[in-house]
């Protein structure tokens, strides 16, 4: 008979041994680490985006823009005579995986900069890794206000982005409402389940009130709702000039359709969450009149740089580019430009070059990186007529 203690001991020891086995397997993996790529004839840039999981479309669209930019740069001879090599990983839309892969890109693949992830949460999860390894991370679509600044207000030295912040977008929408549409009263219908929508609503309110306007009513819904009649019936009896509708196209399409059916004719202003072909199919062409939304760029922009990008993208992928494609394209080009201007090929050099970016000609607007590592650039307000973009107006920062 074995004694009870003997069995206990063996089991625990075996468990420890199993951990040891796993560890040695892992240690084995590390010996295949490739050497630093930046000293040879290529410049390695990490691409750390969501390619599967909940927000895979954001990541994939960004990567399409990035690969197109890098293909163009390499075809033109690369940066300072060196070709750019992308090292691409999939975060599975998981912030912990984003942290892991950012660590891998910086410590094993020895990249000079990491692009992505697309969403604010995952991007924030890579910022401490960047600060620790002194390699910049840059996102084309992390719009949350606190992405590039630490909780205390100090700038995160190695975090950058090429998109504007949520607060800027809310402010721009409010300015458009009070200055271009001459509105003095507004109603807000917001998506209560998303921080994106809450942030936009707060900043809209702040700026609209500062401009002398009044918010006469605030209604809320939750992502996934399909019936908005209760909200809209309450709104119908109110007196106001404009509706601000921060949220995504899924609900916004249904809300606009129901509102127009109820005879609500006031202008509707939305955020970049409206930017989807599905908005038209959900709301219908006749409802999408007098509807405006703030966006990163407009295909109507007659700037030759924008038109050239749209033509090249359409030729390569067979579809018109969306904002994620454009922002991905800009992000890759901005990093390549910074590498070209940098005094060396270390993360610190690239970080300094990124921070001193001035008047960079991006597709989403000429941009300058400010002290908080946010781009200062124009925002576009697009007007819809019968469901199609009829005009776009650039509002500078």
């Amino acid at each position: 008979m074995k004694t009870k203690r003997a069995i206990q001991g063996r089991r625990a020891a075996a468990a420890g041994l199993a951990v040891a086995l796993g560890v040695s397997v892992l240690a084995g993996c590390s010996s295949t680490t490739p050497g630093a790529g930046t000293t040879s004839d290529v410049i390695k840039i990490g691409v750390n985006y969501e390619q599967s999981g909940a927000v895979a479309t954001y990541g994939k669209d960004s990567i399409d823009g990035i690969t197109m930019a890098v293909d163009e740069i390499n075809a033109a001879g690369g940066v300072n005579g060196k070709k750019i090599q992308l090292v691409t990983y999939d975060t599975k839309s998981d912030p912990a995986e984003a942290t892991t892969l950012a660590t891998k890109l910086m410590t094993q693949d020895k990249v000079v900069a990491v692009l992505g992830p697309a969403t604010s949460g995952s991007f924030k999860a890579t910022v401490p890794v960047a600060n620790q390894n002194k390699i910049p991370v840059i996102s084309g679509s992390a719009t949350a206000d606190d992405v590039t600044v630490a909780p205390g207000g100090a700038v995160q030295p190695y975090a950058f982005r090429t998109c504007y912040t949520d607060s800027f977008q809310g402010t721009a929408a409010a300015n458009y409402a009070s200055k271009t549409l001459n509105a003095t009263t507004a109603v807000i219908i917001k998506d209560n389940s998303s921080d994106y929508a809450k942030g936009l609503a707060d900043n809209f309110t702040k700026t609209f009130t500062a401009n002398g306007g009044t918010i006469v009513g605030t209604e809320a819904y939750v992502a996934g709702d399909t019936d908005f009649n209760a909200i809209l019936t309450r709104i119908r009896s109110m007196q106001y000039d404009v509706i601000y509708l921060p949220g995504y196209y899924q609900e916004a399409g249904l809300i606009i359709k129901a509102a127009r059916d109820l005879g609500i004719t006031q202008p509707v202003i939305g955020p970049d969450g409206f930017d989807s072909p599905d908005l038209l199919s959900l709301a219908g062409a006749s409802a999408l009149n007098n509807v405006y939304f703030t966006n990163h760029y407009s295909s109507l922009d007659q700037d030759p740089k924008v038109q050239a990008f749209i033509a090249a993208f359409t030729a390569k992928f067979g579809r018109a580019p969306n904002a994620f494609n454009a922002l991905g394209y800009d992000t890759a080009n901005l990093v390549a430009d910074a590498v070209k201007r940098a005094s060396g090929l270390t993360g610190v050099d690239v970080m300094n070059a990124l921070a001193s970016t001035k008047d960079f000609p991006a597709v989403t607007g000429t941009l300058t990186i400010d002290a908080d590592h946010n781009p200062v650039k124009a925002i576009v307000v697009i007007a819809l007529k019968d469901g199609v973009q009829s005009s776009s107006e650039k509002i500078s920062a």
């Binding site: 020891a13 468990a15 240690a27 590390s30 949460g121 995952s122 390894n133 389940s193």
Partner: protein, 319 residues
Amino acid sequence: MARILPLLAKVVAVLAVYLVVQAMIMTGVVDDYILITMVTICVNIILAVSLNLITGFTGQFSLGHAGFMSIGAYTTGLLTMHYPTWWAFLLGLLAGGAIAAIIGFLVGLPTLRLRGDYLAIATLGMAEIIRVLFLNFPFTNGAAGLSGMPRFVNWTWLYVFTAGTVILISNFLRSMPGRNLIAVREDEIAASSIGVNAVRAKTLAFVVGAFFGGLAGGLYSSYFYFIKPDLFGFQKSIDILIIVVLGGLGSLTGSVIAAILLAVISSLLQPFPELRMVIYGLILVVVMVFRPQGLMGDRELTFSAMRRLLPHRWREARP
């Protein structure tokens, strides 16, 4: 002698693993990326071993383990954000585990009268409630989540808590209350007839499992810088369950091996983002088809089992 030697072997093995890895970290053989993978593995080991106690050893099908994990993650995260000290970190881990255990107790009392599918749905509901609470509490920053937690987890703490969890749960299962759990799994009526209080045994398993689930969450939040309620949804509970089922229901070493194996496979597949989830899924299907009882079944990988693999003369040489 016969009693002391296995104990000694245990202590030596546990210490040796720690020292070897510590040496590899100090010499740079284990870099940041390997360390982060080991953190994932260790957190998953604690989660899987504690869920195995509930689902594998006590036979209570739970889909709510991510809920317990989130309690620990938020407790430790909030504490270390406001008081970035070692004491707050350790207190956060213990408090997170304790709060998770209390929630486990409160939820367990009414729901553990349910069995099988019904219990699974009830635990799923519990985890969803916890998630929605974290989404709406004023101090958890809602859907945007918490970021900026200081990183306190290092290899020493990680190993202390992981090895500690495995040893504690393994010893617990050899104790009388632990044996009661297995009796309840095997046959609840027979166990009751010989005086085992089945509801108490099940609640105990739930409470202990929840405690270690919370502990794992605390370690997670103190290494990965960022948590949000969505991370602890249904999918996370399923991920933990996959490790348990793959390793074998009722095998602690199985859970450990499966946690390591899945992390290694996932990290080897990182250069192939398009095929990654396909191959991962395929491996799960193949294992389940050829080993439906999991890699280890309900057996354990013990020293005596490994000794049987050695040639005869070596075996004789051992005491």
